[in-house]
């Protein structure tokens, strides 16, 4: 049986290789691993809200056969989620291998802990054995290998790679050009206003202990683009648990609440306010909060817009530093 299966896989792989030699294969990199596909995927699955929005923004809804997400599907941007009638909405948060294979996909766009994990059996290596190509979100690669500091370039690489894989390079470049222009505009505004560096805490969830973004999480890139500081930028991961004592010690001046999950943003805010009542934490004393949805705080097409919102919110929260 075993030998037979191996032989079977060998046949598939060798035929794939023969085909690839005929047409020109597309080679791309996913978390440092070389991936090769012979033609652009037609039955793709995307496993989180932010990855799905990247695909939809590139006009790839017709290539999708299934989507999943830690968030409810209704949280997808309405302007992007118009023609999803043909797409299977997998119940969340993250589906298992079998329910994916049942959709006969040829491509999966997800990330480590954005759907992929050891133990669940849903990994790029396992999917490859079923002839399914994968691309892992750049930000998530920190879960499997060391990598350079996070930046908006990580999102551009994601968009550019998905664009190449699905042969919509022009659309990808147009999106990236727009984002680059807007970040540039933001940077000069920040400079012109001499916006002071602020200590910012990203509150994802958690009551026993808070879950937050570390050095390699995209929120750090957003915060740093505005010249401020993520109070947990010393933690060498993207998202992680910390302790309440650390929040107290690091005295955040501003808090971003990630809006998703069982607790509403208002509940999360009330919880923080009660927990740190009279503690002297500036952000809580002065009520300086900004609420942003999950898909806006994970790498995707809302990141730049969220950074703009954060800029507005910071300017409002600290008016003494805004000229005119």
């Amino acid at each position: 049986m075993q030998g037979l299966r191996l032989f079977f896989f060998y046949l598939i792989f060798s035929s794939l290789r023969a085909e690839a030699a005929a047409s020109r294969p597309l080679v791309y990199e996913s978390c440092g691993e070389k991936e090769e596909i012979s033609e652009h995927p037609k039955r793709a699955i995307s496993i989180d809200t932010n990855t799905t929005e990247i695909m939809l923004a590139l006009g790839l809804s017709s290539s999708l056969v299934g989507i999943a997400g830690i968030d409810d599907h209704s949280s997808l941007l309405p302007e992007l989620s118009k023609d999803l009638a043909h797409v299977r909405l997998l119940k969340g948060p993250y589906p298992n291998l079998e329910s994916l294979i049942a959709l006969r996909p040829d491509f999966v766009f997800a990330g480590w802990q954005y759907g992929f994990s050891e133990g669940s059996g849903l990994t790029p290596a396992r999917l490859r054995k079923f002839g399914v190509a994968t691309y892992s979100l750049n930000e998530s690669c920190i879960r499997v290998r060391s990598r350079p500091p996070i930046g908006f370039d990580d999102i551009y690489t994601d968009i550019r790679t998905i664009g190449r894989i699905f042969r919509v390079e022009a659309r990808a470049e147009a999106l990236i050009a727009d984002y680059e222009k807007r970040t540039e505009a933001l940077r000069s505004k920040v400079q012109a206003m001499a916006l002071k560096s602020r200590r910012i805490f990203v509150y994802d969830s958690g009551e026993a202990s808070p879950f937050t973004a570390g050095k390699y999480g995209i929120p750090t890139a957003m915060i740093e683009a505005l010249g401020s500081k993520n109070i947990f930028d010393d933690l060498a991961t993207n998202w992680t648990g910390v302790s309440w004592e650390d929040i107290f010690r690091r005295q955040p001046e501003f808090i971003i609440i990630v809006d998703y999950g069982a607790k509403s943003a208002e509940q999360k805010r009330a919880f923080l306010a009660k927990k740190f009542k009279d503690s002297g934490i500036p952000a809580i004393d002065k009520g300086r909060f900004l609420v942003l949805p999950y898909a806006a705080m994970t790498p995707g097409v809302r990141t730049i817009e969220s950074t703009e919102k954060l800029f507005e919110a910071l300017s409002r929260a600290f008016p003494e530093h805004v000229n005119g």
């Binding site: 294979i101 994990s117 290596a125 879960r143 499997v144």
Partner: protein, 338 residues
């Protein structure tokens, strides 16, 4: 002897029924008739498959079959080890985790993941988990012997102490890891999961179970004697020290192999032997085949439920084994006369 053949026959039937149930359940629909079609197709006759059935064929043979087989192997193995350890320490509360394999395997796995080490390719995780498990058992073995005497009490306490110590070490590694992201990748190890099992994972556990079972099956009368007092064992001519050492080594090795593939699935090794004791009595001549077939059947059923309850999500199998096993056990205990 008639009881024994009845047990083998009934147990095999049960196992077969659970096997079919395991193959038929999961997050994608597979009707019973389709399952029969696919089985017939695989055996060489039957109509050619439609595209939809081809996909189900792939799911059945590449995802479900390895899983069901691994569930059977680990259920059988853990139950056998549980029964053997209970005789070894003459304590009904003993279970396979007393041998420290679970905590040792976790430590080995965590070390590989946080160091990013991949000496043996994709297998490194399992190999290191196995080394960790063996190391833990070795330590426990070392501490539970003094001047060649193997003490049950000492085994229980050194087992507990070393497990706690290794678990603490695992936590230290997790909390000081440079790449904290690996933590979630490791979590399944402590809960147990059959989700990542592939057909290539099955060979070593099958051989280990075969070896472990044949050893315990040959030792079934000795296991009965080992449950008696030391004096009686001696008068019946059993070298108890030597026998206990062998049971320990075989059990530890079998558990280490299983845990390196699936993580530590709780409850089975403790409860299945007890349920069977209530049904069959304390005779190891019945318990050993009973654990093989009953343990395998129980685990396949538990995994089938873990896969279909909240489909397409999966619940950790340890939750199901406890949820399913506890009521069965309590009910049996109440209705027994003891």
């Amino acid at each position: 002897m008639r009881t024994v053949s009845f047990l083998w026959g009934g147990g095999t039937l049960l196992l077969f029924a659970m096997f079919i149930l395991g193959l038929a359940s999961g997050s994608s629909d597979l009707r019973f008739t389709e399952l029969i079609d696919l089985l017939r197709h695989r055996l060489g006759y039957g109509p050619p498959l439609s595209e939809e059935l081809l996909n189900k064929d792939l799911i059945l043979w590449s995802i479900r079959l390895p899983r069901v087989l691994m569930a059977a192997l680990s259920g059988a193995g853990l139950s056998l080890v549980g029964a053997a350890i209970q005789a070894l320490v003459r304590n009904p509360m003993a279970d396979p985790w007393l041998l420290g394999v679970s905590s040792g395997a976790s430590l080995g796995a965590v070390l590989v993941l946080v160091s990013g080490l991949s000496l043996f390719g994709g297998l490194s995780l399992q190999i290191f988990a196995f080394f960790g498990a063996s190391l833990a058992s070795g330590l426990i073995y070392f501490f539970s012997r003094r001047s060649q005497i193997f003490s049950s009490t000492r085994l229980i306490f050194s087992g507990l102490a070393i497990s706690f110590c290794l678990e603490a070490l695992t936590q230290v590694v997790i909390f000081t890891a440079a790449r904290k992201g690996e933590v979630q990748n490791v979590m399944f190890w402590t809960m147990g999961s059959l989700g990542s099992v592939e057909s290539s994972d099955l060979l070593v556990p099958s051989l280990a179970l075969l070896a472990g079972f044949s050893f315990l099956f040959r030792s079934r009368t000795k296991l009965n004697i080992a449950c008696l007092s030391e004096l009686k064992a001696f008068s019946l001519g059993l070298d108890l020290q030597r026998f206990r050492r062998n049971v320990f080594l075989v059990s530890a090795a079998l558990t280490a192999v299983l845990v390196s593939v699936t993580g530590s699935i709780g409850f089975v090794g403790l409860m299945v032997p007890h349920v069977l004791r209530l049904l069959l009595g304390n005779d190891y001549r019945l318990l050993i085949p009973g654990c093989l077939l009953g343990g395998a059947s129980f685990m396949i059923a538990a995994d089938a439920l873990a896969r279909s309850f909240f489909s397409p999500q999966e619940i950790p199998i340890g939750i199901i084994t406890a949820l399913l096993g506890s009521p069965i056990f309590l009910w049996l205990m109440r209705s027994s006369n003891e």
